[in-house]
Symmetry: C2
Amino acid sequence: MAEREVDRSISQTVKAQLALRDQILSGALRPGERISELQAVETTGASRTPVRMALVRLEEEGLLEAIPSGGFMVKAFSERDISDSIELRGTLEGLAARFAAERGVSTRELEPLKECLAAIDELLRQVPISVDAFSSYVTLNARFHAQLTELSRSPPLIRQIDRASALPFASPSGFVMAQSALPEAQQILIIAQEHHRVVIDAIENREGARAEAVMREHARLAVRNLRLALRNRTHLDLLPALALIKTATD
Amino acid sequence: MAEREVDRSISQTVKAQLALRDQILSGALRPGERISELQAVETTGASRTPVRMALVRLEEEGLLEAIPSGGFMVKAFSERDISDSIELRGTLEGLAARFAAERGVSTRELEPLKECLAAIDELLRQVPISVDAFSSYVTLNARFHAQLTELSRSPPLIRQIDRASALPFASPSGFVMAQSALPEAQQILIIAQEHHRVVIDAIENREGARAEAVMREHARLAVRNLRLALRNRTHLDLLPALALIKTATD
DNA sequence: TCCTCAGCTATTGTATACATAACGTATTCA
DNA sequence: TGAATACGTTATGTATACAATAGCTGAGGA
């Protein structure tokens, strides 16, 4: 019988949570499928207690759904669920931008955002954009959004935005991945970058309403592009998280 | 030694969660105070495993905060955290109202909201409002908001609003309780009722922007009144949830 | 052949034992 | 006298054993 090998460098709960999330997002566990604790114990290497903790956390995260009779299943999402999640996130980011503008942000605090902006400008100069550069873009874009959120200086709002981003297609990188499936990807990224520029400007000039409006428009752009991308499904292997869409309602 | 008495009518996890939440909101556990698992086991009657599950859920709910070195403590909120939570919720409800208006709602679906509206009208006819009537108002108001949220027909949004309401002062009844601490309470409730009337009208006429705007204004009214109420602390025993405010930052 | 019931199996819910890490205290040395 | 270290105590993190329930399978009767 195999000795249980324990990786002491990280908590078993976190390890199990990461492993299970990965299985869900990679599509190894299909939407609607019940997650067996015993099976999860085998695949994650943790014992039942941390696995159960991880399952509870993933349920709260929105990736799992509790089964009334006990246990959990992988949650399934409709296309509208996804676009609503994106719009929801855009609304919250809009509020964050407004808070940042109204509450005042020093030039020094805006510096990291401007650095992101410049770095993305640099990437977009390539036509067409390379795969590596696109990968960098995803990272930079996520960082931009995270930093913008921080500028609101509102812990409850930051927390809520984090929660709203748990669904991968509702996260900033999910936005970008979805858009990347379109032939007009580069043009879209340039428009998105313009939004980024406007929101910084609005915050700098303390125009709360304008800052909020542009972030909401930013999300609506993503929603439109996601819909388009879902029409031509050819490139959707770029976005493994879409394994969560329930095929029955396609 | 005492036999552990197990109440089989309800899961131990849920029992522990309810008991602990109650202890937190009643102020029995003070903000910043560490929650001892062993102590929780004694006060809730459940064993450590369900207690731990309950602690994880309460952390995700936002009432507890994980301590890096292990364990949990009762989260403390600043006054701004509270007003931000209210505005956050209003923003989400605004989105829900807009969705309802844009996606179309049948007259039949609006019926329950109109019933709430009429019932509240009836209550407000009393001047001054009795304690019993006020208690009914809190219930009816919460129902109105819950039904409005449902009309968005967006599970991700409904879920997020529920999560945003986990903080008791951010819930519709929390709004009302906070406002009730003011001498002008009745006048405020009348204004709030006017908001309710407008949002129904806007949804009925498919005016998404107007529906959204009025819900946000609704929340901003609550924020202003909460601030006022926090100034004259005399009536704040009406809102035990405010035990969560960290006194250090008053 | 289909429906029903009983028993079994598999899985989750709960309890507790064990391991490990953190914190506090006391003692010693500078 | 103060600071630092070592030891002990207490709490959390993890693993596993036990209990109970839900779902499934097979057999029997209509």
